[in-house]
């Protein structure tokens, strides 16, 4: 029959009939109907089949030799609640159809009846069996649906939350962007290759163009080479810097061609998954100009102070110049006497002339040195050997010390001590300290007058110069007053020497301090940072 469903074919029909011919007949009929039939003749066999196989419908004869019909019904139903049982028995062997149904049977068909009736009942039973499955399925579907609904609800909640988060992020991003956009500093994201990925409004203003132009141009196009020819690495390749964040001042070329000073901080970051540098910078041209002005003022003041120093030293300088002049005159006169008296030998004359030349050169050197020292000039930084500078200063104060009967003692480090600085300014500081020391000793006992200049390394990155006298020291004045402008103990002094010296040393990155010596006199010490890599250029 075409009505037979997949399920009917799969679920089997169990026939329990102890009468062999009847079992065969029934089996044949039902097989003809297309059912898959399991036939058996005892209750025990029937229960086994129920246990082991998927039995959808069972046709049971209640009169079985091994088990009563009611017991069999009970056990069948216990084993498989879904099985539909059709009772097929001889008339009168079972009290009524009603009883049968009470016992859980699906249908009751008398053996005497038309087999068609039995077949119909089997079909019906299979359908209800199927219905049972369908019911099961519905329950399952309902449960699944409920689960799905739950899941859906959770999902919706999640989506809502997600949306809220997104909203919050958007808000946050918006406020951060607003923050970045409206920051008074220029903010840039620069990639490894030097391409600008983000530029805020102010970055554009500083660079003199629209922020979008910065993105097009690439930040490296705005970074000119500095005076020393080194391209500003931080602009070119901010990630090449090992130490982060990097901070420095540099010159930036604006779009309009104007050069401005910027102070920038660069830190490594990740921008859209790509390594990049976050560069925050500001225009410090005004500050730099002010600093430059103050540098110039300092230079002018230092110049005035040098002139004043030279004025004070005039007699010493005259003495120093007179030495070679006197020498020249003596040798010249010697030559003249010898020639006039006809006793001149060429060798001796040449020798005298050489002496004259040497003395004249010495005089020339003194004048050159003085001129260099008092010349008005722009500060120039270079690598200088501090010991050499001290020798030059000594040549300035030698005669003054000599006049006052002062011994000059140099205790210089054996190695070259290279520092970065301005030769004349550093000279000025040492000269100032040396002269102060000399002047402080005019009242000391002659054999105690000694000025010591000492150089040494101060740690790995600095040098120290100490100028030590045996003079009167401070008469009750606090040490720090020494460095005040216009504080002086000398009647003819300006009172600027030490204050200028301190500002010079501090501008070079060092410190100048004064300490009274334990026995007598004062020691002035200053440090200067060692020139980086300076140890290597000495040949």
């Amino acid at each position: 029959m075409s009505e037979i469903t997949q399920r009917e074919r799969i679920s089997r029909l169990l026939i329990v009939e102890d009468d062999e011919p009847q079992l065969r007949t029934l089996t044949a009929i039902m097989q003809d109907e297309g059912f898959e039939v399991i036939g058996c003749s005892t209750a025990a066999e029937g229960l086994d089949h129920i246990k082991q196989e998927d039995v959808g419908v069972a046709i049971v004869d209640l009169r079985l030799p091994d088990l009563s019909g009611t017991r069999l019904l009970e056990q069948l139903q216990t084993l498989n609640g879904a099985v539909r049982i059709i009772i097929n028995t001889a008339y009168g062997s079972f009290d009524s159809a009603k009883d049968a149904v009470n016992l859980g049977a699906f249908a009751y068909v008398e053996k005497a009846a038309d087999p068609e009736e039995l077949v119909r009942q089997v079909h019906r039973a299979f359908r209800t069996h199927l219905q049972h499955y369908a019911d099961d399925l519905e329950v399952a579907v309902a449960m699944r649906t409920s689960e799905l609904q739950q899941a859906n609800k959770a999902l919706r909640r999640e989506i809502a939350e997600h949306r809220e988060t997104e909203e919050a992020l958007r808000e946050s991003e918006k406020s951060f962007r607003a923050l970045a956009e409206n920051a008074t500093d220029g903010i840039l994201i620069v990639t490894d290759a030097g391409t600008c990925r983000y530029a805020n409004k102010h970055a554009g203003q500083i660079a003199g163009c629209a922020p979008a132009e910065l993105l097009e141009a690439g930040f490296k196009d705005l970074s000119p080479a500095d005076e020393s020819g080194n391209v500003m690495e931080v602009f070119r390749n901010p990630l090449g810097w090992d130490t982060v964040p990097v901070q420095r001042e540099t010159v930036l070329l604006r779009k309009d061609g104007r050069r401005i000073w910027v102070e920038l901080t660069a830190a490594k970051t990740v921008w859209q998954g790509e390594p990049a540098a976050l560069v925050v910078f500001r225009d410090v041209t005004d500050r730099e100009a002010a600093r430059e002005r103050s540098r110039r003022h300092q230079a002018e003041l230092a110049h005035v102070s040098r002139l004043s120093t030279m004025g004070e030293m005039a007699s010493g300088i005259a003495h120093e110049l007179n030495q070679p002049l006197f020498t020249i005159m003596n040798f010249a006169q010697t030559c003249r006497f010898k020639i006039e008296s006809g006793r001149a030998s060429p060798n001796e004359t040449l020798d005298n002339l050489e002496e004259i030349t040497a003395a004249a050169e010495k005089a020339g050197q003194i004048i050159r040195r003085l001129r260099e020292f008092v010349r008005k000039r722009e500060p120039r930084r270079s690598t200088i050997d501090i010991n050499k500078i001290i020798h030059e200063v000594v040549s300035f104060v030698e005669s003054e010390a000599r006049i006052d009967g002062i011994r000059l003692r140099l205790v210089l480090a054996l190695d070259e001590l290279r520092v970065q600085g301005d030769t004349v300014l550093i000279q000025q500081v040492i000269l100032n300290l040396a002269r102060n020391g000399i002047e402080a000793m005019t009242g000391s006992k002659v054999d105690e007058r000694e000025l010591t200049i000492r150089t040494s390394e101060a740690g790995s990155d600095a040098i120290e110069v100490a100028v030590c006298d045996t003079g009167h020291g401070l008469s009750g004045e606090p040490v720090d007053r020494l460095f005040e402008a216009f504080f002086t103990t000398k009647p003819e002094g300006l009172g600027l020497g030490l204050s200028i010296s301190r500002s010079i040393i501090e501008a070079e990155g060092g410190h100048l301090v004064a300490t009274p010596n334990p026995d007598r006199g004062m020691t002035f010490r200053f440090t200067l940072p060692v020139s980086q890599g300076g140890q290597n250029d000495g040949s």
Binding site: A318, Q323, M329, T334, R402, D404, G405, V446, D447
Partner: protein, 203 residues
């Protein structure tokens, strides 16, 4: 009289020292150079005739200080002080202490040599006078007490008679004492004796 003493030069500047040595040598004078006052003091023998050319300011003992030390030891060597810068009070002080001259560098070499010559003559004279005085002093010590009494009174212009009256002895005895004393003092007559005694500083 020709003075041929040694020129002692004390200057701490080596080239100045060399130039002075060459200059002094060119006029045929003996010389010695020193770089410090102490070096000079250690080497100097006051018996050597000469003069001193001294740089006034030097580390350690200064020129002025050396001048004082020499004076303190009774050494009377003529000193020419040379200075790098004119210092009037110091110059005055040096001159008061008997310096021959106080000259400012750069000194004209001719002028310096003139002063050196002058100083050497002065030293020569000083030494002559001192020698004479020493000689006279020796002669005076040879006089007996009585002879000395007679001489002291004679040079005041007293006659023999007056001296005899004052000392309570005969004029003949005074005559003998005076003649003996004049002989010891190498004086030919009374005026000569008076001159000699003045030279010894007694008169």
């Amino acid at each position: 009289m020709e003075a041929n003493g040694t020129v002692f030069v004390v200057d701490d500047d080596a080239s100045v020292r060399r130039s002075l040595a060459r200059l002094i040598e060119s006029v045929g004078r003996p010389f010695q150079t020193f770089s410090t006052a102490k070096e000079f003091m250690d080497a100097y023998d006051p018996a050597t005739p000469g003069c001193l050319v001294l740089d006034v300011r030097m580390p350690g003992i200064s020129g002025i200080e050396l001048q004082k030390q020499l004076a303190g030891k009774g050494i009377n060597i003529p000193i020419i002080i040379i200075t790098g810068h004119g210092d009037i009070p110091m110059a005055a002080d040096a001159m008061r202490r008997g310096a021959v001259d106080f000259m400012e560098k750069p000194v004209s070499p001719q002028l310096l040599l003139d002063r050196v010559q002058q100083a050497l003559s002065q030293d020569f004279d000083n030494r002559q006078i001192k020698a004479e005085r020493d000689d006279l002093a020796t002669r005076v010590t040879r006089l007996t007490q009585r002879e000395r009494q007679v001489v002291d009174l004679a040079i005041t212009g007293m006659t023999n008679k007056q001296i005899a009256t004052q000392l309570g002895v005969s004029p003949q005895a005074i005559d003998a004492h005076r003649a003996k004393a004049m002989s010891k003092m190498h004086a030919n007559n009374v005026p000569e004796l008076v001159k000699l005694m003045v030279k010894t500083g007694v008169g």
